[in-house]
Symmetry: C2
Amino acid sequence: MNCEDPGFEANHDHDHCMESALSTAKELCRERKQRLTPVRELVLKLIWENHQPMGAYELLPALAAAGFNSAPPTIYRALEFLQEQGLVHRIASLNAFIGCPHPENPHRSGFLICSGCQRAVELDTAPVHKALSESASELGFQIAHETVEVVGLCADCQNQEAVDA
Amino acid sequence: MNCEDPGFEANHDHDHCMESALSTAKELCRERKQRLTPVRELVLKLIWENHQPMGAYELLPALAAAGFNSAPPTIYRALEFLQEQGLVHRIASLNAFIGCPHPENPHRSGFLICSGCQRAVELDTAPVHKALSESASELGFQIAHETVEVVGLCADCQNQEAVDA
DNA sequence: ATTGCCATGTTATACTATAACAAACCTAAT
DNA sequence: ATTAGGTTTGTTATAGTATAACATGGCAAT
């Protein structure tokens, strides 16, 4: 299994995961001549450390602890930049942000979100997009952006429920 | 064309549309022994009058005008009830609410949202759901709820853009 | 008529996000 | 090296979305 795309496996190599995401981010920003400034890098790091959807305000205390200004605009600006670079995605139904496991090529994103453990994994949305674009084209609708967010229980949490019951 | 499901057609019979939605709602609530109280009915009416996604706070002034308490909890409670009954859906990416054109049988909902005219139409999400459930079952993920919201341009607004250009 | 539940009123506050302007900082051309 | 111009960050304030908590009122079944 690719460490950058661990599905709902809890016990993957977190450290590697994070470092890999950060070095990819640095690489991409260098290529694109974009500045991955300290605050931006820290925010990305925090998001990957948690490896689950994080609210903007959940990230603020760590920014303050690191000596940055921790007023809301700071975090939202960093998140905006990271989104523009495809390094993080926003999950609208959670008002939360999560690291993208494959930012090197921009793509339509979709998520499976576990309501048991709060983890989320990015989906391959190609089949979903196909279905959507067929429905859309019947109505002459031109798609610009898709929000696909599926809430449910991951395999682990289903087992846990069975045990608890 | 079914008036309750007018796609992006602007010039359908609004009044009929609204009355039909309201009478269906009354019927359903009677069947289910749920109380469609004055404030709930008014909120549903306001949503159908506009026939496009409405923010909770956009609805408050009309509530106040009708003599109801217009503090936020009033509207959110009404919206919560209407959602439970399947009479309105929430669109997460817009923080807005819209009337459901076929509340008689609960269903997974998805939307096409036009960024030109702000209208939204409910999709048949069966094909999308099929694609999603295949992806989900590969990961052993059990789906509880789907958020599918597609932003783009409806046919009218594409034409309008072409004219403006 | 009484009781108990459901709905609404009311106040306060939490949570999410952005506007607007000032200060600091790159960086590239002179 | 200097400086002009753009980008990033700091800072204050506020807009926008949603819920907690408790009081009050109304309705329905006994």
